[in-house]
């Protein structure tokens, strides 16, 4: 019975990770790739770790698995936000089908500060340097 539950959990997790990998390869834009990666990878890893905890059923292993899941849940949004912020500052091109860019003109590109008015509006999305 436990085996079946472990198989189901790991299958769901692996499916999420596979879908995220296909998305990373196929998405047309950096920001779309980023949004595909972070969420799906965290969820898939959580499922796989749950299956591992269920297989061992020891206190020490469960504590380790909980620590890993907790750590992933904390760090994934932070690193995702930092990468997205960097990409926006360095002038990463948006996909041509993008409808809305709510941050356009709100950021000072030189000092990297947020302003509520559009004083520092900069037209054009040209990259600062070759990345």
């Amino acid at each position: 019975m436990t085996d079946v539950i472990i198989m189901i959990l790991t299958s769901i997790g692996t499916l999420f990770i596979l879908i995220a990998a296909i998305g990373v390869l196929r998405m047309p834009d950096f920001f779309l790739r980023l949004s595909v990666t972070i969420k799906a990878a965290t969820l898939g890893l959580g499922f796989i770790m749950g299956g591992t905890a269920l297989f061992f059923l020891e206190f020490s292993v469960t504590a380790k698995v909980t620590a890993i899941i907790f750590f992933l849940l904390i760090t994934a949004p932070v690193s995702g936000h930092m990468i997205g912020r960097t990409a926006y500052f360095t002038g990463m091109k948006l996909w041509k089908g993008t409808v809305l860019d709510e941050l356009k003109g709100k950021y000072d590109r030189k000092t990297h500060e947020l302003t509520s008015d559009g004083d520092h509006a900069q037209e054009g999305n040209d990259p600062v340097d070759e990345l």
């Binding site: 950096f30 790739r33 690193s79």
Partner: protein, 89 residues
């Protein structure tokens, strides 16, 4: 039953996912694409380590997974912070 399923279905699927991400890692037009790809590659590695610890019945491998999660976060933050500060004036 469980071991065979993990060994012949789950681990190859994770390997295929790793290969797909590695293609993006090699191709990625910008450095930031490579940073995201590297982060995701390490995450897939954590999953593979967890499955492998189930297959071999050694729970000690999970320590490696924990350290790897730490290092992936540090590497991602360091690289993105460096790339952000480089464009600043």
């Amino acid at each position: 039953m469980l071991n065979n399923y993990l060994l012949y279905v789950i681990l190859p699927t994770l390997s295929i996912a790793a290969i797909l991400v590695f293609v993006r890692f090699l191709k990625g037009p910008f450095t930031l694409d490579r940073v995201v790809g590297l982060d995701f590659l390490i995450n897939i590695g954590i999953g593979i380590i967890a499955i492998y610890s189930v297959v071999t019945d050694h729970s000690a491998f999970l320590d490696v997974a924990m350290i790897l999660a730490l290092i992936a976060f540090l590497g991602t933050v360091a690289l993105s912070y460096y790339l952000e500060q480089r464009g600043k004036q």
